[in-house]
């Protein structure tokens, strides 16, 4: 029994989508912490 092409494609595309969001979230948080003077 092997994984279907559709399931593999969904898995990979969702993973790439979430990974795309990561740097955006981290940069927004950095700016927010910096503005609130809460970096350290």
């Amino acid at each position: 029994m092997i994984i279907s092409l559709e399931a593999l494609e969904t898995l990979v595309l969702v993973a790439m989508g979430v990974t795309c969001l990561s740097p955006i979230i981290l940069i927004i948080l950095l700016i927010r912490d910096w503005l609130k003077e809460e970096l350290w």
């Binding site: 029994m1 994984i3 990974t19 740097p23 950095l30």
Partner: protein, 475 residues
Amino acid sequence: MDYNPISINTALILLVIFGIVWIFFGWWLGRKNKTLDDFMLAGRNVGLAFAGATAMATWITSNTTLVAPQLTYELGIWGMVGYSLAALGLILFAPMAKRIKELMPEGYTCGDFIRVRYGKPAWIAFLIVSFCYAMGWLVSLGMAGGVLLDTLSGLNYKVGMTVILAICVSYTLLGGLRAVIATDYVQTIIIIVGVLIIGFVCYQSVGLESVYEFNKEKHPELLSLLFPAAMMFLFNNIFFGIGEIFHSNVWWSRALAFRPGIGKKAYLLSGFLWLPIPIVTGFVALAAPSLGLYPDSSDMVGPMVAAKLLGDIGAIFVFIVVFSALASSLDSLLAATSDLVTRDIYNGLIDKAASKEKLHKLSKLVILGLGVVTWILCLPKITTLGALLNFTGAFVASTIWPIVLGLYQRRMSGNFVTAAFVLGTTCGLIGYHMIGFYVAALFSCITSFVICMVGLIVKDDKFDWQRLKHMEKMQ
């Protein structure tokens, strides 16, 4: 197979540039370190952005960029899914990070917790387990640095490994945890963008459908949902990942360094953002057979595919990503292990009256010493990265239940915890040698669980949580 897409000179130039940037950054951040708390715990007031990024970057190691593709190449779909489930460790540690900060606001290490909570025998057993793991991880990272440079540029393994270790030791020494956390943030962004570009190019140029069809015909086991060894690996890796995070001072020191109220959010954020990364890096490895790449050393499959797809510039790109992943974990591990040696071994066993100023100076020497020991252990390239990493699974999985129960259950007693560490590790090692690497953590965790449950039933320790608040000294 000779496969050196970048020249030795290019590799050396990149190393020099990165070395100068990171070491300067470490020195610049280190200027603010005045006390032991500044050096070891970045002032105990780290905000969410740095907290989330450092947890994520530390967990994205060379293993995520090198071993996740290796495991996908060897075990197929379950290899990459199993590896990504190591994120459960970060997610499950989130509430524990909050609890740790509340229970021991003046604590420095996980050793502090085990010592006060369970007593000296359990503490000694824990330190042995923890050092075996820390040295295994350090050596695996040092080796990865040498292997990376050797594969990508042909630079001698020993030279590459030495240079990478020297850079990481230097900036950690100069800046302490503050430098580690700030460089982790930058390295996280570099790694994620790099992984995304490689994954996207692979998806666009090779195509998921052709990868799927090729593997279906030539290597169907890679797409199999019923690959027994791979399924065992999946469960093993969950326990391994949880054990690694729950016991290691890398994660405890961060929980103590984060601003109050930040630990839980930071670990949840990093866990959910880390989860998909091994799937992206693993997918790249699935394309190897269809590209005609069959590497001699399977831990180099990811970089080789990326270098093949992206050409010479791509190889430089891969180098930067894997170097960042290596550095982000190596620095964290050096800092956290140095804390354990300074605080638990020196201050706990050798000089109980040492001042904080003395410990501050000593911790820098320990970082240097750890770098030298790691370098010596890395010189003979004894095993593959995956094998070394999984060997330590037998050690760390024995700590899961003692840590969890110690944080939340007053009944749990030190004698049973010591037995759980020792017998859990022993059973894990037996499983590793008799069956395979993919059962070491599983066996260790199950044995430790049974012993802890027996301990809970037969003995009530009636632990007073207030003893952790003020960090009792060893008698």
